[in-house]
Symmetry: C2
Amino acid sequence: EEVAKLLALKAQLTNDAPPQKFVLKTPKGTRDYNPQQMAIRNSVLQKIISVFKKHGAECIDTPVFELKEVLTGKYGEDSKLIYDLKDQGGEILSLRYDLTVPLARYLAMNKINNLKRYHIAKVYRRDNPAMTRGRYREFYQCDFDIAGQFDPMVPDAECLKVVTEILDSLDIGKYILKVNHRCLLDGMFEACGVPAEQFRSTCSTIDKLDKSPWQEVRTEMINEKGVTPEAADRIGEYVRLNGSTELVDKLLQDEKLSKSKSAVEGLQGIKLLLEYCELYGIKDKVLFDLSLARGLDYYTGIIYEAVLTEPIKIGGEEQSVGSIAGGGRYDNLVGMFDTKNKQVPCVGISVGVERVFSVLEARLAAGELSVRPSEIDVYVASAQKDFLTTRMRICNELWDAGIKAEQPYKKNPKMLNQLQHCEENGIPLAVILGESELKRGLVKIRNIVTRQEDEVPRDKLVEELKNRINMLNINVNGLEK
Amino acid sequence: EEVAKLLALKAQLTNDAPPQKFVLKTPKGTRDYNPQQMAIRNSVLQKIISVFKKHGAECIDTPVFELKEVLTGKYGEDSKLIYDLKDQGGEILSLRYDLTVPLARYLAMNKINNLKRYHIAKVYRRDNPAMTRGRYREFYQCDFDIAGQFDPMVPDAECLKVVTEILDSLDIGKYILKVNHRCLLDGMFEACGVPAEQFRSTCSTIDKLDKSPWQEVRTEMINEKGVTPEAADRIGEYVRLNGSTELVDKLLQDEKLSKSKSAVEGLQGIKLLLEYCELYGIKDKVLFDLSLARGLDYYTGIIYEAVLTEPIKIGGEEQSVGSIAGGGRYDNLVGMFDTKNKQVPCVGISVGVERVFSVLEARLAAGELSVRPSEIDVYVASAQKDFLTTRMRICNELWDAGIKAEQPYKKNPKMLNQLQHCEENGIPLAVILGESELKRGLVKIRNIVTRQEDEVPRDKLVEELKNRINMLNINVNGLEK
């Protein structure tokens, strides 16, 4: 006690740093995760990882920063959102913008032709954050990609299967998987009279159709991208179409599209994909949608996006979530890193977990979800004074037996505070030490929920607790609905 | 087939990016983790996390970068190793240097007085990398800290218990836990005639004793830190001492030290810590060592370091690992972020997992360890042509039943290649489809290791596989010794 006081006194004296002068915050667009949020995050990621593993994906990791040159020329106009590191002598570095370019760099650098991998890590974009809707400057991506030369649409269909398994296991509402094909988009532009050099920019305008009405997109196409009004109107006819195999068949007969080799390639690809989706029992969830374009330049084949079809109700309010996963085929990206331009075809999906986190956090805030950040099963408490060393000895026994246990770090904690701690933290069992019981060779075990107390022999304590913990069958993830 | 060729042709044509001009590498001092390395890493981290959870630690996470001001003035002369981000407009940011300062910022910002948390994340230091010995510029820290006003040495002793549980579960060799106390060091300097303003710099010189002999340290003390030769020699007498409770008792009687209030405080603290270590059954692993100083400025009480006492033999060669965990008490750091200088006392440990990784990776390279990056249990193969859709259908059944399964993504894979794939990836079971069996309503299951094949009814396949997988009792972590 005396020592503690002296130490505290000394601490005050030696602390000669001036008090805090700036506003304490995390950088713009970032946040801390508190224990509740981490429990949610870890539970969501565990579910995603087990789907990835079910499909044989291996895990890799890459540094958080890359040589700036690795990222240069991969993201089109989004390159302005890349975080650069200060030049402190040595290499010029940037924070990774996604996990796809680092994967391509990894494959090319190590001359790997075949890899089914997942990668879960944070990426960085100096974008305008909208944190309540789960849009941050530092955010998680969960990527699953299949690299290698394989038969058409086989890995592509498996990516869609993986997305459905993940969304089903996360159980966050009804969804639809939109698919389209970059070759069909190119063929459609060609058939509508857009010059080849305007394909990519027209494509990124189409990508805005999920947020803006056609009239606005049409105007941008004409005024900013130089598409003729006639071409734009022809595109407008196509992009309102969506359906399934019958639409593919109809478009294969379409007067204009059937003349474009690229459009026919794309349509045949989608037709095959839909067949495989039927085999995988997910065809009813897939929608062939000609308005799906995806922003990134590097896609070369199938593209997809999973969208929640109903707003989510949280605490009486409806929240629209929208796109929750996306991806596609990019056959040329690895070749950009190879001195001989050697290609490794890739296809992959990326799950937008931040939106999942934000839905679950909103549910937590609305009291529709409860989480348990600590996994302690047994709290070692004492009813009288001077039981610190006894509590420590018992904790030690429990730890050595593999039981998750803790005790108050104070010499003489109050009984009420100890029980409150158990209730607040969802600790199911308490060992309560008392002088009279110990003299009789007994200790009390209290069930925190039922408040029932049983006396058990001191030397059977570990065994008794293990039995009770097994019976309680506590949710391992700490996440309970 | 035709479509694939056309797509490949198109891919070549549309890929107009120039071939790679710079050397493909990860930034200096960083590395990728390949699937084998990730399997090792995840297995090590899982073991550490389960110890942290056994002691009731909750998980938090903070952004990879902080406002530069948050890091300023916390690391002394090591501040030059901090990575700064480029000023791109907006806030001035730096990459985190450790997880301790972000924890202190988090506690102060959220006005949290009590927290037992773990945090496992990468930190960044522009240091001279020594990658073969596990020293990187981007590396993992695994931190466990207890924040709050508690009775002396109770949380401090638990941190040591946590370290022993982790090192025991990682099973990487014999170790010792060195402990010392910053108050004793200060008292010792005082008793030896070092002026108060030289305490910190003298302390950081002492810290070099684990790498340099006393004569060198003495010279640096005298020539660079301005300590008198007499004072240095007196210090030299003390820092060669180490022992246990009997040494504490002896020093409490020491003529010079017993006159220093600070030294007596430190000694009494260590005495209490050793008592608690006895209760926790770890006293034989703890060594009170007066030469232990720890580099960082912010420690205010007990300090500790876990050191492997024997070189590790890998592939016939001995590798010296040295320090593998460290930490201590820092009671003033949170107050530096509080406008009213309000303190939250903290104590914690940090496990140097990179050294653990490098030991295990060396064992892997020497063939003393094998890992399985993919967790696939069943490979769906076919003996004849044109079984792609049947294989896909069966995979789908297995996935829907929760079985980890994959199949070749090719239409007509060779039997030999398929079996080789299973052997190389440690896949224990293969389903082999053949026309004659399927006509009889049967499929073959092959045990890859024993090469035994059994015919089972097609409609009992899932059930049969589940039984066999349970029997094989595959190591969940994918890490096998």
